[in-house]
């Protein structure tokens, strides 16, 4: 199937553009903005890993290496659309308007971490693998029923394709022809389990064939390829032409999470090699240099801005008020049941704290 699902690419490793790919549809400003967004995501990720090492946040889930896939796809959405991330997709949610402070709070085990600013439709990250796919189908279906042109974009990994909910989500979406884009980040591993043990196929895109769903495979480290593929899928969805399955082939440089040791299951020199070759930022840098659009002052300024933004968010995170007991009890039901109310009362009696 590899031949049927060639990896769509616009920008190659040298930062050279595929002349047939229609890059003229996008302005240089937009491309530079993509660079900014990826840089922002990367710096936040690097900072977060440091924070974890310093014990200022808990276990953290890295996405370094997957910025093109996440940022490029998120950039193809419009406000009002729905996003369904996993635990690894904060480059996507950040791009789509999530609050940096809240993303950091998430790694402090704070419930606010799952909540985007009001008016931005992002689901809290799904922990049970693949369980978010039916949600995305359902939310998209609601939009279709209302006759709006809003769409759902849902993230999931290569490992997620093995779960029953992957299948049920895609089948519902295709049966009801809902405006959903199923965006797979194939980073080659589900924790330690490589794609070859996860499935017998060489592509994930081909799994769309079982649903007569539009499907394609893109170079997930090429932000332009990702952006255009998702844009096309999103437009199709908006026009009522049904769902799409996209496979973005990518790689996580680091561990599965900061609690994972990748040397147990793979040779990390592969990651080092990729940093020099397929890296999404480097590639855009090369492109911009090729185009004469790269200025050191520009990136330096970006870095400074971003670092400031991160520092501010970090400060906000660290000064954020302690969690309130009410978070435990108040939202399980709209109004606590009597059993919960008794438990609150008992608990407060012991704690002697205000609720």
């Amino acid at each position: 199937m590899l031949d049927k699902f060639p990896m769509q690419q616009i920008l190659n490793e040298e930062g050279k553009v595929n002349p047939d790919a229609g890059i003229d549809k996008i302005s240089i400003e937009q491309i530079k903005h993509f660079y900014y967004l990826m840089l922002r995501a990367r710096l936040l990720d690097k900072k977060s890993v440091k924070l974890q090492r310093q014990g200022r946040i808990g276990t953290y889930v890295q996405y370094e290496g997957q910025e093109a896939a996440q940022v490029g796809s998120a950039a193809a959405l419009e406000k009002g659309d729905w996003m369904f991330p996993t635990y690894r997709d904060h480059a996507a949610t950040l791009t789509f308007g999530h609050s940096m402070r809240n993303l950091l709070l998430n790694w402090r085990g704070r419930i606010e971490g799952g909540l985007p600013p009001e008016g931005i439709n992002i689901f809290p990250p799904a922990i049970p693998i693949a369980s978010q796919l039916p949600h995305a189908a359902g939310a998209a279906w609601a939009e279709k029923k209302r006759g709006s042109d809003r769409v759902s974009l849902v993230y999931f990994g290569d490992g997620a394709t093995s779960e029953g909910d992957f299948h049920e989500g895609l089948n519902f979406a295709s049966v009801f022809q809902v405006p959903a884009v199923f965006f797979n980040q194939n980073n080659g591993f589900a924790i330690s389990v490589p794609m070859e043990k996860q499935m017998n196929t060489k592509t994930i895109a081909q799994k769309g064939l079982g649903y007569d769903m539009e499907c394609a495979r893109v170079d997930g480290n090429d932000i332009l390829a990702v952006y255009f593929a998702v844009k096309e899928a999103v437009e199709r969805a908006r026009k009522g032409e049904g769902p799409t399955l996209l496979e973005a082939v990518t790689w996580r440089y680091g561990a599965h999470t900061t609690a994972d040791d990748p040397s147990k299951y793979r040779d990390q020199s592969e990651s080092e090699k990729r940093r020099e070759t397929t890296d999404p930022l480097l590639r855009l840098e090369r492109y911009l240099k090729n185009e004469g659009e790269w200025e050191d002052a520009w990136t330096a300024a970006l870095q400074e801005d971003i670092n400031k933004e991160i520092e501010t968010a970090l400060e906000e995170m660290e000064n954020y008020p302690e969690p309130d007991m009410s978070q435990l009890f108040d939202h399980v039901f709209d109004v606590p049941t009597w059993t919960i109310q008794e438990q609150i009362d008992e608990h407060l009696a012991v704690k002697g704290r205000k609720s």
Partner: protein
């Protein structure tokens, strides 16, 4: 001026149908979805006529996938709709367990109230209709232990209509269990118009002085039979309480009754170990310890899978066993 409420004799399945029709007509965001609920009108005819009346956008025949049904219901619900999702039989809810346990019941808390999934999950349940294996499970205890969902079990048409309407109105997920044996076992007067019954309130089916018998669903049938018989045979007066909502349970009614009678018996169809009886017992323990004159009695299913139908009558708690338990309690 008096308003006269139009009444109509209904079976429980008609009451359920009527409740859905009422809510579909009232709120255009209400959807009915599940396997065979549309064109076919449901394998028990619970959704009969709804497809014709409300059309395919609102009465939806879904693919055969319980996790998909609940999972998409969550997406629909968070995005403004009110799905009434049918599991064709309660024993087929298991494939949807993950979606219910980790999402439907948690999305409200997880989002600090921003997102809610007020889904009603309907499911025919229990033994006694000669259904094949798995079709007869009564595992309500799996859900009373699950934080974030209410569990309702009507036993007659009047309760079914009022409780189902209330469940649809409830802003929380509700599991609405329909004892198959009650679907057509009785006809009662039901108002034609909309009315509701509060969740969490038990119904005293019969007042009595010597022992409180707690039960729900189809076991109300065996219990009433047993109580009628034993009251004829002996000088004993039994109070029968149909809990109707299993979570949250009606603590006050349970306590008041046990404090009056001093004795308690719990009857349910599910396996004894880990059944909802344990929770009723806890309520009694917590509220009425000093009133108890004898140990709380239980008459429940065995700790075995509900058997194939040639043996299901052996499985289902019999009036005889209920009578024996009352006897044991009284003569302790």
């Amino acid at each position: 001026m008096t308003t006269s409420v139009q009444m109509k004799k209904m079976t429980m399945i008609q009451g359920i149908n009527d409740a859905m029709r009422t809510m579909l007509a009232e709120d255009e965001n209400v959807l009915v979805m599940g396997q065979d609920v549309g064109v076919n009108g449901g394998v028990f005819r619970a959704t009969e006529g709804l497809y014709e009346e409300f059309g395919k956008e609102r009465i939806i025949d879904t693919p055969l996938a319980e996790s998909g049904i609940i999972g998409t219901s969550i997406g629909l619900a968070v995005n403004g709709f009110k799905p009434i999702a049918e599991m064709q039989f309660f024993g087929f809810i298991y494939p949807a367990f993950n979606q219910i346990m980790t999402h439907a019941t948690r999305i409200r808390q997880r989002s600090m109230g921003r997102y809610t999934a007020p889904i009603v999950i309907r499911a025919p349940y229990g033994a006694g209709v000669k259904a094949p294996e798995i079709h007869s499970d009564s595992v309500e205890a799996l859900f009373t232990h699950m934080p974030g969902i209410k569990v309702v079990v009507p036993s007659n048409a009047y309760d079914a209509k009022g409780l189902l309407i209330e469940s649809v109105n409830d802003p929380n997920p509700v599991l609405f269990l329909e004892p198959m044996r009650c679907y057509r076992s009785s006809r009662v007067e039901v108002p034609e118009e909309k009315y509701t019954i509060k969740l969490g309130k038990a119904a005293v089916r019969k007042e009595g002085e010597d022992i409180s018998v707690f039960t729900w669903g189809a076991m109300t049938i065996e219990t009433m039979k047993a109580v009628e018989q034993i009251e004829k045979e002996q000088n004993v007066s039994c109070e029968v309480i149909d809990l109707r909502t299993l979570y949250p349970m009606d603590k006050d009614t349970i306590a008041a009754s046990v404090q009056k009678t001093g004795r308690a018996l719990i009857v349910h169809e599910a396996p004894a170990t880990g059944g909802v009886s344990g929770e009723v017992m806890s309520v009694i323990n917590d509220t009425s310890f000093l009133y108890l004159r004898s140990p709380v009695e239980r008459v429940c299913g065995f700790d075995i899978p509900v058997p194939v139908y040639s043996l299901e009558n052996e499985y289902i708690p019999s009036p005889e066993k209920i009578k024996n338990a009352i006897q044991r309690s009284i003569s302790f």
